[in-house]
Symmetry: D2
Subunit: 437 residues, 4 copies
């Protein structure tokens, strides 16, 4: 059988921190128990089909630099088939338990909608066979509603109802494919759901269209018995200047406004959070605090560049901050950590895909180990609990119970005088955090 | 009687666009009717006491540069009195109908809370007399819950209930003063309501504290019969890294989560919107679309600098975009346009305050004129209406009525084929907009 | 003869500010004398072939949306020919006197270097004929050393000398073509001359390679008798994270370090200046103050987005600030104003290209008119001259003549005491500037 | 004798990575030999007097929060004396070998220039005694030419020659004090040497004034026999919008233009580099590649905030990248690593100053250890050397020797055909770097 990754003879193995083998894990040990779950169960890593199998290395100033052997063939479908072959070889050699896809990643757009559907169904069948053979599972599917010119002015938020109809029909089949492949989530990223200028836009109307679309999606999922979690992925500024799903808070606001909170959770991407001016940790915390953190697109942006660079995670401290939030909410399942990340344009070779993923997996393994230890030690939890203890009794407790008002609090204040100030100890806490690495 | 602005002998007058008099309005003509209201009624300009009367020119790298004659005197209260004298001289010479203040702007913090209250009450009485004498009205009052060290870790979101009590008592009196002065709004800007690091913060708890605080404020306003509009002012990043009121969408989400939407509207500041990564126009549109745009802090930031520069408005096109949204929602009243803006550190002289405000008022007058004409002409409204017309009948209408689903839309699509794409005509629309200036 | 722009029957004409015809100039009147030159002579507008004729509307998240009729044909060369046909129809209908190109814009990359050369020579001949027929002239040519995968790690700064050789040979022919077409400038934009990570980069070596390359270019120009101005175009961050030509100051530093200042001037692009954290005006002023401002890429970026959006100029005040610097240095010639700008992805139609250019030309016409009037009035020049007058005599004069030192100045100071501070009057000056629009 | 830091009984000691003592070093072991120098000799840590002793916790939205016991006393000079007492207690307890100061940090501005001089001389004498007693040395002195209102429009670049004279006299005495204290460097940070608007600025003139000022400083240093290194510290955007010393490249350009390169080196501050859009490492590399890296202000900015946050270093990987450049240029001496960093506004207590510095010193100790090991291992150096080897022989060698030209290279190319592309291996290299931590 043809191999696309001949340099990698066997699945990537754990060799420990002292290994000099670039094609081995130094920290990720799938079966190692951390608390009550294995590393694999905690992290639920997924490979993103679009970046890993389909990225070309093109950027706004240059052409494709990746010459993938699986991207050769007489027809689109032949190339799609080879790409799927290569993908499952990659997944199994990398040992990630999950994958994710857009409909148009795995099956080419056809000359007509019907042909696109046929292509997708054919590739879904092929992927299903591979899943059964390899044990690799589908974390989520999604529909690409942003690349084709028809979606230039939006999909569900397009001013033309015809495009809305097209998007609806497309999502129907993407959801079908996700169900067929046992996907445990389905994601919506509204790549063009936003506007460029209010000079030609009715924002109120477009947001109502989008809400209608989500309600239809909920209904359709129910009608076919799809029980996976529905997820919305926030992103600001790209590709549409004003995206309706700017960040976690904006998405939550939207879901509340349109009575959708029971049906959706949020997929937080690190690079999207930072483009919105937040830290990754902040947007995770916002989503988690509302009980709505469902999945993580694990990547990192370059904060000195103003666009979505989708780099592989590289900072174990940030991974630990992420894992702290995830562990404290009891894990991400059915969601997981999807490497929505790509190798640099100058990293031409297939082997670079292994380097990149191995690095990302080790970073999150280190993050998991640190986060678990931090929680076990309890130092930070104790510090925080103590800091807020005035709200657990007396006037603080009465405030939160609704038993005080401005008049009664003034009276209390006049008896108690000026409050003492207390250091927040941020530098000391940062030193303690650093000691975990 | 002592004058603080001897260079300005009489109220600033309208002299028309060809005037070379730097101390005259070129475009702002208070009594001119634009549609059914005068310019003054449309724009409802207010002077911000903190910047205009109290700014010192200090910045993080340098000391105060403004040597205001009203800031001399033996005691804090003597200086406060002179400052109020100067303020009302300024308002009447500038001819703005409104002013805005923080409690600690008009009356100094005392040695004890009670003394602070006494100071505030004394200055409120003095201001009331000036209002009656001059006809200048109060657009809004607010409490400064961010400058004093006790608020370093937040006011309502402080981990110490003692500080919460202090803030409550302080707002009580700020609201009393606002009512006494006939203020038509009361504003909350949560300067330190946010967090620096999750290492010492319980975000969920702090947000609940903040909600409790707002509910108490609603109750208190009711208890004293204050009928002005309550407003929340979003701001990201400053002074606390992660502010809970990041932008309009975040505030709306918060108000929805905690059942506060009936009681609050939003005060959008231009420079805060841009620090959050939005255009001024965008955050206005977000607030207005939810029926929650209540007031505007009319300033502008320097997009090449990463902090709140609070400059006076200078772009008539942006003012027009702002006024378009305001006119279309039927005006801002009881809110208005508050110049939350300061002269540059190197603009030492009292006369510079006049130059700055005159420039800002003329910019918004030009913006109002253009916006009114744009609405009268109807070109943009027609363009937009036509762009979305597919949703007014047929499948588009059925979609919005909930009469379609993914299955029925696929069927419709198979009958109708690929949608045609249409240019959004952004460049042409921008040319038309430019023709209004 | 086939027309590609049937909606535009005749050259765009000046119709004055009150015209409602979207396909007319409101302010640009080519033959109108402003001072001692016509508008056309002052502004020297050029169309950028790459954006206007070759842009596809593709972005990092979506496929081409522009379906240009000239981009159809059986072979690359047939399409190239049609594109040139359309280009000269566009230039003449738009009435811009100049155009600019990259070698690979006008002639396709061939299967071998020799074939590429042949293609370029063929298209150069065809363009020359068009130039003679229409009177349209070439502002500048340049070589595309950044799109092809061979240049992924740089052209002159590539770690592989083979690529350096390729780039050299390519520039040779691009310079030949520029000379053949009577180009009055030749531009270098080092799209990939920078680095992604120091982990694999020898920065010192790469900068020396680049200097060598520029010296060879100077020698080659001399050897063929090309007398046009050589220009370097600064840009930060894109497409390479750390570009060696970050901004005007960095380029000037480089030219000084490698003894190249006699041979090059600088081409300032507005959007590149703002990506570097400067205002457009600032980088123009830096280049002009060193006598090195040679050309302007007239566009504008979106300051709320972090990448090169290359929009058409839209702010007459900014255009005026640009023209002030240009007029004061006696004009740009042999350089000009090149619209390095593209229509938005959603502006699909050929006619949108006219709207965009007409808008940009009118903006600069307004800017020229204002700048000329400002200089004639002399208000700002007088203000500035007066502000620095202390350096024209006495101690100030002696300082600049080198006749004072720290000891003598201390002595002078002890005699003269504390200096008085003077307002910089920024707000007043901004009001005066606003009065020109 | 009075102690200001009673919680710290003895000098901070090295206790190793497993210590849980927050007041111990985990990695910094002053006397440990790394290669041919001790950690102390490599790192040459200095405490910044302005932040550590003089910061108040004030920010643009709030008052001082730090209530330092040394900042109490009847007169400015009494407070200055106590502050110096506390400072040397702090230095010796922290065990940093160096300190740095501005003239106005250690001695208050007097009512007249002469009084300011007297104050400075008195405090210099006191500091000298402390230095002799404790062995703590002065890394550098500098003059504060930006805080006082007289410098609002610049010091050397002020439009008023009177202010230029004042700045000259002030620097004279700051240099005297530095010499008296055996300072091994003298720094210029041009806090207000820039402009706000070209409407009132003659940039060319101001830059010439600045050059004149630097030449005078060189002459003065020579005249008094001061042999320390003169340093210029680049910074963009703050406090003046357009600073003339934007970044390392801009400073180098300026020094070249005005024939000053023999007399100055550069002091790179991490947070200034990132505000300019560069990585810390990049600006270090730029300065070092020109032989001009003289000192480092070791801090870090918050890349999600747009101003100078001056936080203590916290990322050992970034410290390693910094130390790699320093080790490769043979160290920084006579320069060092100055903690130009401050504790957060909410970190009220004196003990927080210890936490912050201990954290920063440990971070750089880890960085030094990793950088030393990286250089010893030689992996990256080998990778880079191999990557550029084509320039060591054949056509590459001839190119750099000036023995090729565009014609000869085209001929060579035609013989050798299309170059092969090679992966830059960035992800793999990043994984190797990560393995050092």
């Amino acid at each position: 059988m043809k191999t696309y990754f001949p340099q990698v003879k066997a699945p990537i193995a754990f060799e420990g921190p002292d290994s000099k083998n670039p094609l081995a894990f130094k920290h990720y040990e799938a079966g190692r128990k951390i608390g009550d779950k294995t590393m694999e169960e905690h992290l639920r890593f997924a490979v993103a089909y679009w970046h890993t199998m389909k990225s070309t290395g093109a950027d706004p100033f240059g052409a494709a630099t990746f010459k993938r052997p699986w991207n050769e063939g007489a027809t689109d479908m032949e190339r799609a088939g080879k790409t799927l072959d290569a993908a499952f070889e990659f997944f199994t050699k990398l040992t990630t338990p999950f994958w994710c896809f857009h409909d148009r990643d795995i099956a080419p757009e056809g000359a007509t909608f019907s042909e696109s559907v046929k292509n997708l169904e054919a590739m879904t069948a092929k992927a299903k066979a591979y899943q059964q053979e390899t044990g690799v599972r589908l974390l989520w599917g999604t529909a690409n509603l942003f690349s084709h010119p028809r979606y230039a002015h939006g999909a569900a938020t397009n001013p033309d109802a015809h495009v809305f109809a097209y998007a609806s029909a497309q999502v129907k089949h993407a959801m079908n494919a996700t169900k067929e492949l046992g996907g445990v989530n389905y994601v919506f990223w509204g790549g063009r759901e936003g506007y460029e200028t209010l000079l030609n836009t009715d924002m109120k109307r477009e947001r109502e269209q989008l809400a209608r679309f989500f309600h239809m999606a909920v209904d359709y999922a129910k009608s076919i018995g799809f029980t996976g979690q529905l997820l919305i992925e926030p992103k600001p500024k790209e590709p549409t200047k004003h995206q309706y799903d700017f960040d976690a808070a904006t998405v939550i606001s939207f879901l509340r406004e349109f009575d959708l909170t029971d049906h959706f959770k949020i997929n937080i991407e690190a690079n999207h959070a930072t483009l919105a001016g937040h830290s990754f940790e902040h947007d995770l915390a916002i989503a988690s605090a509302s009980g709505m953190l469902g999945n993580v697109d694990a990547n990192v942006g370059d904060l000195l560049l103003g666009w979505d660079t989708d780099q592989f995670p590289s900072d174990p401290r940030e991974a630990a901050r992420c894992m702290l939030i995830i562990l404290k909410q009891g894990g991400l399942a059915p969601g997981g950590l999807n490497f929505d990340a790509k190798v640099r344009r100058g990293s031409f070779d297939e082997i670079d895909l292994f380097h990149a993923h191995i690095g990302g997996m080790d970073v999150f393994a280190k993050g998991l180990l640190a986060a678990h230890k931090i929680i076990e030690d309890g130092f930070f939890d104790d510090f925080i609990a103590k800091r807020y203890e005035s709200f657990n009794a007396g006037v603080g407790k009465r405030i939160m119970e609704g038993a005080e008002n401005f008049d009664s609090l003034e009276k209390w204040l006049l008896e108690h005088g000026e409050p003492a100030t207390k250091s927040g100890r941020q530098e000391m806490l940062e030193n303690v955090l650093a000691s975990y690495f």
